[in-house]
Structures are given as C-alpha cells and as structure tokens.
C-alpha cells in the first residue's frame, strides 16, 4: 500500500464542510501509512486524504420510484357569478357567462378542473381617451363612438363580453349627465348582444348617480357595474346597494391593492344585502414593471385564502389588465431602436401582464389590444382542454433541433 498512490473519492458534502472550516476531525478512522502526502490546491481549502468506507456500488440500472401527485383538500369553492341574461332569464343577451366555482388554485388540474373558464371583456370608451399608438391603430375608425367600437370588438376582435367605460361622465372631462350616459348604455346594449360591463369615472358621487340610471335602463340584462368602492358606499350606501340588488345586476367590488380592504368591502356589501352571487372583486391591477408583483401576490393570496375558507375573499377576481399600458416600456417610441417596435412591445406587455395574473387567479380580464386578447384566449382554451395533450416526441430533441 505504501508505494501506491492513495486516491479516495471524498464526497462533495465533506468538501463543503472543509471549505467551511478549513479542517475536519476524523473519528474512529485508523490510517496506517508510511508516508502521507496532502495536496493543497492553490486558492482552495486544504483537503485531507482519508480512508473512506468502501463506496456504495453505483447503480447499474434506473431505480424506479413512485410518483404521487400532491393533491390537497380545500374547504370552500369560489363563488359562482353569472353575468348577462338571455331572453329566458329576462334579458336580451345571446348568452350569459359564468365565472368562479373553482375548487382548487388556478388550473391545478391534478386537483380539479375549473367548472368555468376565465373570460375576456374588451374595453370600449365613450370618449376619445388617450391611447397608445399600438392600440389606436386598431380602433381608429370607431374612436369616440362607443356603439361602433362595441360592434368592432364583438365582430372583429371576437370579444365574448365588452366593458363600456363611461369616461365622459367625469366632472373634469365632460360631466355627461347620468341620463345621457344611460342612453349610451342602452344604445350599446342594442348594438351588441354579448354580456356587458359598465365602468364609471372614479368620482364616488357621480358614479353613484350614473350607475343608478344605468342599472334602471339595463333592467333584466344582468350587467356588471364596474365598480362599487368603499367611498361610494360612504357617499350613499342605500342607492349603491339598490343599483345592484333592485335590478339584479352584478358588481365589481374595487379596492386599491389591499387584501384587508377587499375583505372589508366584500363583507360590507354582503351585510347590506348584496347576494354573494352578485359580487366579483377587483384588488387592483398594476402593470408589468409597475408593481405587478403587488397585484400578483394580493390576488394569489386572496385566492388561496378563499379556498382555505375565508368567505370574504372567496369571490371571482377581475383585472383591469389594460393598466399594462401605463408602463412606459409598453408604448414609448424612443425604446423602438433597441427594444423592438412598440406595435409588438405593447401587446406583449398586455399579454404577459394578463397571463401572470391568470396564474394568480383572475377570472375576468378587461383588455384592449386584439392580439393580446386573442393570445390570452388561446392560452385559456388550451388549458381548459386539460392535461394529457403533451407530445414528448415534439420537444424531446430540442437540444439538437435545427431552428
């Protein structure tokens, strides 16, 4: 033995300890040698040459182990909410849409398949709001005309629902009277037969008045009022609750990025008599690059909390995904030279914002760019087809594929 070179494979775990301590104590090891040479590599901690116990034989064939999907139990399904009413239900919509009803986190299909797919509503504005060029080029002909815009959204973009934003009611914009705004809603309801969401201007007082009228003219249609806020309830609880309850509409309960405020508003709405089946919650969407992590985490936490039994958070989630365009990276012309044309940068920004929040648990997306809407819809449709569609042969040789 003394003449042979001693070479022992010391496990890398040992090496790690050596790196940490620079020395190691061996217990119950007898080394009988005439001459022990320790090699010290430059820059590396000293490594002792030791007599290790005989190494375990290396496996010669695959050791088969079982794989068991980690299926958990959840205590509370997410509330189901139906929007839009057909003739059978007293409305004039061609179909209604139901969201919610999940019994597991988003598309955890190994646990359970969602009973309904998340839906996408296309934004329509009653006013010439500033739009990014990449969006504007698709709506140039209908810009400022909500009826034509809604038709374009349904007929050309394939929107399954629309969101009519009554921006012009804003006292600082045009201060359109509630009656006139309600007329626009009627016109759009006549022009298209998809379920409809109606948005306000953000002024609690004016929105209360506008939605009151809108709810009246849309009687029977089960529209979605976007949105009711804490401030609106503080301004006038009864009128706002009546807007939903008396006319059997749905509300989006909007809160600014705070799970506790969301709980509080949902609790308040239900305690004032708004049925659970008429509440969708919007916990605020911040753009990719502009706080999406807060939006993502609040939605993800809310959804998990809802499934785990928090009734005040077990509602379908809505996202104003159009907020993606607030990020300068989505629209800024000066970035074209290095970061590619904004005609692509913009819609991919909206797409990735949406898909990130799909992973967090969104059930209703309000979107704007036709390519983004189509992509998100295609992804949702593929996910709804379920597992078992992967074809390993398609990708198993990606490492050597000629592209």
């Amino acid at each position: 033995m003394s003449e042979e070179k001693l070479s022992v494979n010391i496990g890398s775990k040992l090496v790690r300890y050596l790196e940490q301590y620079g020395e190691i104590e061996l217990e119950d090891v007898a080394i009988r040698l005439e001459h022990l040479e320790l090699q010290v590599l430059p820059g590396a901690p000293p490594k002792a040459v030791i007599a290790a116990p005989p190494a375990k034989p290396k496996p010669t064939k695959l050791i088969e182990v079982e794989f068991k999907p980690p299926v958990y139990e959840y205590v509370l399904p997410i509330q189901e909410v139906t929007i839009g009413a057909t003739r059978a239900d007293g409305g004039t919509r061609a179909y209604s849409l139901t969201i919610g009803g999940e019994k597991a986190p988003p598309f955890y299909l190994f646990e359970s398949k969602p009973p309904h797919k998340p839906i996408i509503a296309c934004d329509v504005f009653d006013w010439k709001v500033p739009l990014a060029k990449a969006v504007k080029q698709h709506v140039r002909e209908v810009y400022g005309d909500p009826v034509a815009w809604a038709k374009l959204a349904v007929e050309k973009f394939g929107a399954e629902a629309i969101t009519l934003h009554l921006v012009s009611v804003d006292p600082l914009i045009k201060d359109t009277p509630p009656k006139e705004a309600a007329k626009t809603v009627e016109d759009v309801l006549q022009a298209v037969d998809v379920p409809m969401i109606v948005g306000g201007c953000g002024d609690p007082k004016k929105d209360t008045e506008v939605f009151e009228k809108v709810a009246e003219v849309a009687e029977g249609e089960r529209i979605v009022i976007n949105s009711i806020t804490k401030e609106m309830l503080e301004y006038d609880t009864k009128r706002n609750v009546d807007t939903i309850v008396k006319h059997n509409h749905v509300t989006i309960a909007f809160t600014p990025m705070d799970m506790n405020l969301a709980r509080e508003l949902n609790r308040r709405l239900t305690s004032e008599g708004v049925p659970r089946s008429s509440i969708i919650m919007d916990t605020t969407t911040a753009a990719l690059g502009y706080g999406i992590e807060y939006a993502f985490t609040i939605m993800q936490r809310s959804r998990l909390a809802g499934l785990m039994g928090d009734e005040e958070l077990a509602f379908p989630i809505s996202s104003g995904t159009t907020n993606a365009w607030a990020a300068r990276e989505a629209w800024m012309k000066q970035l074209d030279a290095v970061w590619g044309p904004r005609e692509l940068r913009g819609p991919i920004w909206e797409t990735i914002t949406a898909l990130t929040l799909l992973i967090a648990g969104v059930d209703l997306f309000m979107m704007m760019h036709p390519a983004a809407m189509k992509t998100v819809k295609d992804v949702i449709d593929e996910l709804m087809q379920g597992m078992g569609r992967a074809k390993p042969e398609l990708i198993e040789n990606w490492a050597s594929a000629k592209l």
Binding site: V65, G202, G289, Y294, W349, I352, E396, A399, A401
Partner: protein, 472 residues
C-alpha cells in the same frame, strides 16, 4: 400534509443558548427568530462552528434550515449564477431568492459570425430599470450537428468569447465529453441526463464536477426515478426539466411545474428539491411553418408564464428586445422581496441645488413611482424639489381612484415639509394622472396647480417648456 412552519423554539433548542451575542443579536432567541425567517445565517453563530460539542446540533440545524429547493451554482468566478435555493412555493410566504436565470442559445450549425453576434448580444444586454441593471445570465450551446468535434469547436469559440456560465446541450455523451474537455473546468451545466443516457452523463458530471440537468418530458415518475438514481450514483447538483410544451400540452407543463415545486417545498421530497428548468425555446418547434414573429411571440409569453410558475432557469432562442424586455422585468418584479416596504418616506426631496424659484413637483410615496420619478428628474439635471405625498404606498392612478391622493393630504405635506419656507412662488406641478384633483388642491392649499405630464419621462421636456411659469 403540507410542511409545517419552522418555529423559532425548534431552532433555539439546538443553539448554544448562552446568549453570547457574538452573532450580533441580543440573545439566542432573537437569533433563532432571524434564522427561521432567513434574515440571519447559521454561520454567524461562532460557538456552533468552533466548539466540538455543538457539532451534532450544527448538522441538525443545517438540515432544518436548508432550502427545500437546493441552490446550484453554474459557472465559475464573478459571473457564476446561482439557481434554486428557494424556501417557499409562493412569494408571499417569505420571498424568492435567486431570480430565474435566463440563457440564450447558440448552436454548432451556426456560422462563427452568427455565434459571435449572439454571444455579443447576451454580453451587452442591459436594461436600466429603477436604478438596477437587468441582464441575461448564460449561454446555452446546442449540439445540432451530431459531430463531437464540431460541437467542441463551437464550445471553444463561445468559451473564448465570454466568461458567462455555459450550458452544454446535447443528449449524446460523446459530444458532451468532447465539449467538457474544452470547458469542463468552467462548471458548465450538463444538459441532460435522460432515461437513455443517464449513466454516461452521470460519469461525466462526476468526472468534471459539474451540475447535471435531468430531462424527462411530461413523465414525472421517470424524472423522479432519474433523480433517485443519479443521487445514488453520487451526483449531487441536479436540475430538473419536466419539459416545456408551449402549444398543446401547456396544461401539462403548468401542472408539472406546480406539482414539482409543491412536492419540494410543502412535502419536503428531497428527490424533487432541485431547481426547475423551463425551455421557452421549444416555442420554435410547435409549428415550423409559422412566421418568425409568431414563434418569438409564443416564446415571449411562455417564458413569462414559466417565471411565475417557479422556473429557476430558462433557455431561450429569440434575441429580440421586445421578447426579452418584459421577461427580465417580470423576473425582477416577481423576485422582489415582498417584505420590503412598498412605500418611501413622505416629505420633501431636493434634486441638484434648488433655490427659491425652483419648481416643486408632486408624486406619491409608492416606491416604484417615487424611484421612477426620481430617476427621470435626475436625468433631466434640473434643480428642483419633489414633494412626496403619503398615499399609503399606492401609485398615482390607484391613489386618485382609491382616494389616497387627496387635496387634504397634499395640503398636509406642503405644511409639514416646510416647502413654503424654501420657495417664494406658490406653484405645484402635479402628475398628469392626478389632473382631476387640480381644483381641489388649489382650494385646499392656496397654491396654483400646474398639470404635469402623464408619464414622468416627460418631466424634462415639461420643465423646459413650462418653467418658469408665465405669471407668478
């Protein structure tokens, strides 16, 4: 059952309990509390390291506190990249640690100019985002030719051009061995061991002491069996690739990533506690007849999904800015520590050397807004004041809608900040998105309000055009 949260008591009981303060904490209990939230490192406890009587406890603590997803290092030197090392499945449970590494591929059928161009692109890629430089992390060299020499030549060319970590992609052990002869001392990731080649790849991983990827497309039983076998074989640093299916099979990909990460983090399955690899590059294989833009588009959003679905390493093909930019930003966002405050301190900030006639701008105390505005003002090189209103850490748009940015709040900050003693004029420039508050602010503060640009990138031009104001 899901893994139970570690309690400070469990940790405390294994510490020396001498309250020696050598770690910098007041006592062992405080140190234990920091250890369980990973705000302190075990190595800070000197007695634990040096006193032989604590040796057993040190090992126990190390096992207790190690991340359920092993941290693996790819590459050597300053630019080595750490992947994995994650403690939790969801970011709100603690925080994520090592941002998803993004590698761009080159292949041995590309001309040397093409290879050089792509390597240079990755080397030079940088986007400055709220004061941080966002970069790409590695080069994946793919063996398309099937010729070991050609593959090794390409690896040599790449290795000569960059010190970035390398990922060697070939399922042919002969090609892999030739490549490792060239770059094996740079600790490249060996991609990959499969059910067919695992023995040869394991030998190479041991011989060159490199991390090894395990690839088993849509077959988690085989993936787990391979992990078990390779660990028995003595390979310790693994990464797992359950296959990325960007078209049909997207649901399989989604669920495979979820199951793997849950088993690692919640069930402490040590065979699956390794970093996960996503390969958005497979978007290029869905339909070869598709136009290039469609392939890039698909690759862009699949990458985005994988970042939020726990991928620790992505291998991509597109080098289009619009494909990569949203993904480096998303990665930055998702890997931000959620425990960090969302808000900065309200009050008055100065830029340059403002005087009594310098402009006063207003913004919210949402950290992202504040840093974006601050960076834009700095870029403008104007001397000015920035008034930061307390909006409970919300962005301006939400603030106005959610009534967090109010005229009263602004009046408060004007008073408390002492800005009225610093400037002679009474003009406040508010964000374009807060335009609706103009009248209310004027009434509440007595200041004149000027409505600034919608995006703070417009501040330099706005100031050039509008400051000083016509009337005072």
């Amino acid at each position: 059952m899901p893994r139970k949260e570690l309690s400070p008591i469990d940790v405390y009981n294994l510490l020396p309990r001498t309250n020696c303060k050598e770690c910098g904490e007041e006592n062992c209990m405080a140190f234990a509390a920091k250890l369980v939230t990973h705000e302190a490192k075990l190595e800070q406890c000197k007695p634990l390291l040096t006193d032989p009587k604590y040796k057993g406890n040190y090992q126990k603590l190390w096992d207790l506190l190690k991340p359920p997803v092993k941290e693996v290092v790819i590459g050597v030197g300053d630019r080595a990249v750490k992947v994995g090392g994650e403690y939790v499945m969801y970011r709100h449970e603690l925080t994520y640690y090592n941002p998803t590494a993004i590698a761009i591929d080159v292949s041995d059928d590309m001309s040397s100019e093409e290879v050089a161009k792509r390597v240079e692109y990755v080397e030079n890629f940088v986007y400055t985002y709220i004061g941080m430089d966002l970069k790409l992390n590695a080069i994946a060299v793919r063996g398309v030719s099937g010729d070991p020499k050609q593959f090794a030549d390409t690896v040599r060319r790449v290795a000569g051009r960059t010190s970035l970590p390398l990922i060697l992609c070939t399922l042919d052990p002969k090609c892999m061995e030739e490549a490792l002869k060239i770059a094996g001392d740079r600790r490249p990731l060996i991609y990959a061991a499969t059910k067919r080649n695992w023995r040869e790849m394991a030998e190479l991983a041991l011989k060159y002491k490199c991390p090894l990827a395990v690839f088993s497309p849509n077959d988690l039983k085989t993936l787990k069996s391979l992990s078990k076998t390779l660990l028995e074989y003595g390979v310790e640093d693994l990464l797992l690739d359950p296959g990325t299916f960007p078209g049909e099979g997207l649901a399989d990909t989604w669920n495979n990533f979820v199951m793997l990460r849950r088993l690692a983090c919640k069930e402490e399955d040590e065979l699956l506690g390794f970093p996960l690899i996503g390969v958005p590059l497979t978007a290029w294989l869905v339909n070869p007849a598709e136009p290039e833009t469609i392939k890039q588009w698909r690759e862009a959003y699949v990458a985005g999904m994988l970042i939020s679905l726990f991928a620790d390493l992505l291998i991509m093909h597109s080098i289009e800015g619009w494909v990569l930019l949203p993904n480096v930003i998303l990665r930055q966002n998702i890997y931000t520590d959620p425990r960090k405050p969302v808000a900065v301190e309200p009050g008055l900030r100065t830029f340059g050397s403002p005087d009594e006639m310098s402009p006063v701008l207003l913004t919210s105390n949402f950290a992202l807004t504040y840093y974006t505005v601050a960076a834009d003002i700095e870029a403008s090189k104007k001397d000015c004041y920035l008034l930061v209103a307390d909006t409970e850490g919300l962005a301006v748009e939400c603030d106005v809608a959610g009534r967090k940015l109010t005229a009263e709040g602004i009046a408060d900050v004007i008073k408390s900040s002492g800005v009225e003693q610093k400037v002679k004029h009474r003009k406040l420039i508010i964000p374009g998105r807060a335009a609706r508050l103009k009248g209310e602010i004027e009434d509440a503060t007595g200041w004149g309000v000027m409505v600034g640009p919608l995006d703070s990138s417009g501040i330099p031009k706005y100031l050039a055009d509008n400051w000083p104001p016509k009337e005072t």
